[in-house]
C-alpha cells in the first residue's frame, strides 16, 4: 500500500561528538512517537559497516520504506547512506539526513537535545513524503582540461597523459613553468629548480596526449560533470606557431626593450620575447605595448630577419571550444606586494627587495647572473631576511604562508655561499614542519646565521649613529633579549605573503566553485575531500587551494590527476536526479519560468500549450518552482509538500495553540 509509511530512524553517537552534548536516550525515545516511525536505533558510528548493516537488515526484515539518519551533515555521508539503502533494495532517494552534528552538537552550549529532536522530527516528516527517483547516468568525455601550467598543472597533465587520456593544458603566460621556474634553488635539498622542472616542461611539449595552449585563457565553461564545454581564448602571439623554429633571431634583432616580468623588473627583455631561455614552447610573443610596429607602424626588424616568415602582425585572438569530462584548476598564487606596509620601505628604499626578486638575483640566468649585489653593484656585507611580511597579520593575511621560513633559510645559505655577508633572520616563529626541514634549519644555523625573534617595526635609512650611516636599519624588539634593537644592514629581503590570484573571484565564478575566507579556492571537505570542489568534476590543486611548498603541490597535483582519471575511467557518471518537472494539467502556459531558468532547460510546447523541462539540462535549483504562479512545477526531492512537512517538524515544539488560516 502506497501510504503505508514504515520509517526507520538511526541516531548516531559519532563517538562522543554527538553523544557528548545530545541526550541520545531521550532523542531515541522521542523519535519512536513520530508518525510512520516503526523502528529507532542508536549506534556509536552509524556510518561504520555494522552501523550501515543495521539499516540494511531493518529494510529487509522490517520492510522499511523510508530511512532517517540523524548524524553528521548530509554533505559528509549522504552518499554513504544512499549507497547503503540502495544495497538493501530501497530507492536511495527515500533517505533523509538530520544534521545533528555540524549544526547542533558541535555548535551549541545548551538546548542541544531539544534542537536535535526538532531536526529529527523535521527529517522524519520530510521522509514521510519522499518519493523514489531514478538515478541517471550519462557518458563521460574522456579528456581533461588543466588550467595553469605551473608545477601543479604540469604534474597533473603529465599523469593524466601518461594514462593515455587527452589533456588540454591552458596557460595564460607565453610559457609554462609558473612560479617554480622563477626560483633558483629549492629547499630543503637545494637542488636547482629549473634543473628538475625543465625536463617535465619538455615532456609536456612533446607528449602525444597533451595539447598545450599557452598565451591562452579559459573564458567560458558550461555543461556539467563528465560533459563540460569550455571556450578558450588564444591570444595572438603575432608569431605563427606552426612555422616558427624558435631560432631566436627575431629577439636578437629587436631593438626595443622593457622590464622583464619574469625577472621581476630587475632585468630587461625585448618587445618580441620568450620570458626565459628554456621557455616551452620556445616560440616568442610580441608585446604590443612595447613593439614600435604596434605603436607607430615602423621597425619590423623581426619580420625582416625571420627566415621562415613566421612573424604575422595581422594575427588576432581566436576562440576555441573544447569538450572535456573533468577540469583541474591549478592557477597558483600571487605574491603580496608589500608596499602598503609603508614602514618596510619597499619600492621606497633602495636594496629592500622581495623574495621573488631575490630568487631572480640568485639565479644564474637572472639579471645579475646569479650575483647577490646591491643596486650600486657592490656585494652586501650584511643582509636581513624578514619573515611574515603580510602573513600571520590580520591587517593583511591572517594565515601562515607556510613556505617562507624554509626559503628564508635557503636565502641565508645562498647569501653565505655567494657573499661574505652576515645574515640576520628576523622571524616570529620558525616553522620547520616538513620532511627534512628541521635538518635544514640545523644545517643553516651551523653556517652561522643570526636569528632575531621579533616582528619588524620599521626599516629606515635614517641613521642615528655613525655605524648606521649609509645602511638600512631594521628596527624591532628582539623578544628573546627583551630589548629594542636596530640592525644596520646593506640589503633587506622581505618574505611577502602568498595570496590568492587577483582574478580568483572571476575564476571561481567561471568554474562555479567557492572560495574560503582567505580568498583561495575552497575544497569540498578540508580533510577528506581536499581536491574536489562544490562542482562535481572540477578539482583544485596546488597553491590555488592555499599556500604550499613544491612537494605538497606535486602530491596534490598527482592526487588531482587520480581524481580526474577515476572519473573519466568509469566511462559514465550519475547526474543530478533532483530536477524539476511540469504538471501539464496545471500549467497555464504563462511562460514566466522560461526566462528565469539559467540553463535554458524550459521550452514552450506550441502543440500542448504548456512548458516542458529538459531533464538533462535542468540542474534542480528550483527557481522556476518557486516562481510558477499556478504551482504547476514540482521541485523533485524538495517539493512544497515535503518542505512544508519539514517546517512543521522543525517547529513541532513551538506549534501555536490555534491553526493559522
Amino acid at each position: 500500500m502506497e501510504n503505508d509509511r514504515r520509517i526507520g530512524v538511526y541516531i548516531c553517537h559519532c563517538g562522543t561528538n554527538i553523544a557528548g552534548t545530545v541526550d541520545i536516550e531521550e532523542l531515541t525515545e522521542y523519535a519512536r512517537h513520530l508518525p510512520g516511525v516503526v523502528v529507532v536505533r542508536d549506534y556509536k558510528f552509524v556510518c561504520s559497516e555494522p552501523g550501515q548493516n543495521l539499516i540494511k537488515e531493518d529494510i529487509r526484515e522490517l520492510g522499511l520504506n523510508r530511512v532517517v539518519v540523524a548524524a553528521c551533515s548530509p554533505r559528509m555521508h549522504e552518499p554513504t547512506f544512499r549507497r547503503a539503502v540502495a544495497q538493501a533494495g530501497l530507492n536511495p532517494y527515500l533517505l533523509q539526513i538530520a544534521n545533528i552534528r555540524e549544526q547542533c552538537s558541535w555548535v551549541h552550549e545548551d538546548g542541544n537535545t531539544d534542537k536535535a529532536k526538532a531536526l529529527v522530527n523535521a527529517a522524519a516528516q520530510k521522509a514521510y513524503y519522499l518519493e523514489p527517483r531514478d538515478t541517471r547516468e550519462v557518458p563521460v568525455n574522456p579528456s581533461v582540461l588543466v588550467i595553469g601550467g605551473g608545477i601543479a598543472g604540469i604534474q597533473a597533465a603529465l599523469k593524466i597523459a601518461d594514462a593515455t587520456h587527452k589533456v588540454y593544458l591552458v596557460e595564460r603566460e607565453p610559457s609554462i613553468g609558473g612560479r617554480m621556474i622563477q626560483l633558483d634553488k629549492t629547499f630543503p635539498t637545494l637542488d636547482c629548480s629549473s634543473c628538475i622542472l625543465t625536463p617535465k616542461m619538455a615532456s609536456v611539449a612533446s607528449h602525444p596526449f597533451v595539447e598545450l595552449m599557452t598565451y591562452s585563457e579559459v573564458v567560458d565553461v558550461s555543461g556539467y560533470v563528465g560533459n563540460f564545454r569550455v571556450k578558450i581564448r588564444r591570444n595572438p602571439r603575432y608569431v605563427d606557431e606552426s612555422i616558427c623554429t624558435g631560432c631566436g633571431i627575431c629577439i636578437q634583432k629587436c631593438p626595443w626593450k622593457t622590464d622583464s616580468e619574469f625577472d621581476m623588473g630587475l632585468g630587461k627583455r625585448k618587445a618580441i620575447y620568450t620570458p626565459f631561455p628554456q621557455a616551452v614552447p620556445n616560440i616568442p610573443v610580441i608585446d604590443t605595448e612595447t613593439c614600435v610596429y604596434f605603436k607607430k607602424g615602423t621597425c619590423r626588424a623581426c619580420e625582416l630577419f625571420c627566415e621562415p616568415k613566421a612573424i604575422d602582425f595581422q594575427q588576432t585572438e581566436r576562440f576555441e571550444e573544447i569538450e572535456v569530462g573533468a577540469i583541474i584548476v591549478a592557477t597558483g598564487y600571487d605574491v603580496f606586494d608589500p608596499s602598503p606596509i609603508y614602514q618596510y620601505g619597499y619600492k621606497r628604499l633602495d636594496n629592500v627587495v622581495t623574495s621573488l626578486e631575490f630568487e631572480r638575483m640568485c639565479s644564474a640566468t637572472g639579471p645579475t647572473g646569479g650575483e647577490v649585489v646591491l643596486k650600486s653593484g657592490e656585494a652586501p656585507t650584511s643582509v636581513a631576511i624578514i619573515h611574515c611580511v603580510g602573513s600571520r597579520d590580520q591587517n593583511y593575511f591572517e594565515y601562515c604562508s607556510r613556505v617562507c621560513c624554509m626559503y628564508a633559510l635557503k636565502f641565508a645559505h645562498l647569501v653565505k655561499e655567494k657573499t661574505e655577508a652576515d645574515v640576520y633572520q628576523i622571524y616570529m616563529d620558525m616553522r620547520a614542519y616538513g620532511k627534512g626541514f628541521e635538518e635544514f634549519y640545523r644545517r643553516v644555523s651551523d653556517e652561522g646565521v643570526n636569528f632575531v625573534r621579533g616582528k619588524v617595526a620599521e626599516i629606515t635609512d635614517q641613521a642615528l649613529t655613525d655605524e648606521e650611516r649609509g645602511k638600512l636599519i631594521v628596527a624591532c624588539e628582539d623578544t628573546l633579549l627583551g630589548r629594542l634593537v636596530r640592525i644596520p644592514v646593506d640589503m633587506v629581503v622581505l618574505c611577502p605573503a602568498m595570496k590568492a590570484r587577483a582574478d580568483a573571484a572571476e575564476m571561481a565564478r567561471l568554474m562555479n566553485i567557492s572560495r574560503g575566507a582567505d580568498g583561495f579556492f575552497l575544497e569540498r571537505h578540508p580533510k577528506l575531500e581536499p581536491i574536489s570542489t562544490n562542482t562535481d568534476g572540477v578539482f583544485v590543486v596546488g597553491c590555488a587551494q592555499g599556500p604550499k611548498d613544491i612537494p605538497d603541490t606535486v602530491a596534490q597535483a598527482s592526487a588531482g590527476a587520480a581524481e580526474a582519471l577515476a572519473l573519466i575511467d568509469a566511462g559514465k557518471v550519475e547526474v543530478e536526479a533532483i530536477t524539476a518537472a511540469v504538471n501539464e494539467e496545471l500549467c497555464s502556459g504563462c511562460k514566466v519560468c522560461i526566462g528565469l531558468c539559467p540553463y535554458n532547460a524550459i521550452t514552450f510546447s506550441e502543440e500542448k500549450k504548456v512548458v516542458e523541462i529538459s531533464d538533462v539540462l535542468c540542474k534542480g535549483c528550483g527557481v522556476c518552482v518557486a516562481a510558477c504562479p499556478a504551482g504547476a512545477i514540482i521541485g523533485r526531492h524538495f517539493t512544497d509538500t515535503q518542505i512544508f512537512a519539514e517546517i512543521e517538524g522543525i517547529l513541532a515544539d513551538a506549534r501555536p495553540p490555534v491553526a493559522a488560516i
Binding site: 551533515s73 548530509p74 554533505r75 544534521n99 552534528r101 555540524e102 549544526q103 558541535w106 555548535v107 551549541h108 552550549e109 545548551d110 538546548g111 542541544n112 531539544d114 534542537k115 526538532a118 531536526l119 523535521a122 573571484a505 571561481a508 565564478r509 567557492s514 572560495r515 574560503g516 575566507a517 582567505d518 575552497l522 578540508p526 562544490n534 562542482t535 533532483i578 528565469l596 539559467p598 540553463y599 540542474k619 534542480g620 535549483c621 528550483g622 527557481v623 518552482v625 518557486a626 521541485g635 524538495f638 512544497d640 518542505i643 512544508f644 519539514e646 517546517i647 512543521e648 522543525i650 517547529l651 515544539d653 513551538a654 506549534r655 501555536p656 495553540p657 490555534v658 491553526a659 493559522a660
Partner: protein, 143 residues
Amino acid sequence: MRSPNGEPRIVGFLCNWCAYQGADLAGTSRMHYPANVRVVRVMCTGRIDPTFVLKAFAEGADGVLVAGCHAGDCHYKEGNYKTMRRVALLRKMLDQMGIEPERFRLEWVSAGEGAKWAKVVKEMTAELQALGPLAWWENVREA
C-alpha cells in the same frame, strides 16, 4: 506549546552550496552560537517560495533567516538575485501583516564564512530576544 524557556525559534532556509556549508564550517570549527536556529536545506535560495516563510511564521517561528550565496557566487548563476527581488515583495507583505522587520532576515554567507554564520545567528537571536515572541495567535481577534 511554546518552548519552556521562552527562547525565540528561528527557521533558517539555507542554500546547499554556500550558506549550508558555511553553517557546517561553523560546526567543524566548533564555533559556538545559540541553538535557536533550525535549518531547512534547499538547493538554492531561488527555490524559497514566500509561502515557506509564511508557513514558518504560521507554525510558530519567531524569526526566519534566509541565507544564500553572495552576489555573483550563486551555484546556479543567479538564483540569489531572484531571491533578492522576491524578498523585497515579501518584506512588504510581512509589514502589512504587522510582523516586525527584524523577524525576517536575508544574509549572504559563503561556504568559507562559518564565523559570519555564527555571528548572524547570535545577532538575530539577541534581537528576537529583545523583541519577544511573535505569538500572533494572541493578537488575533475572534471574528
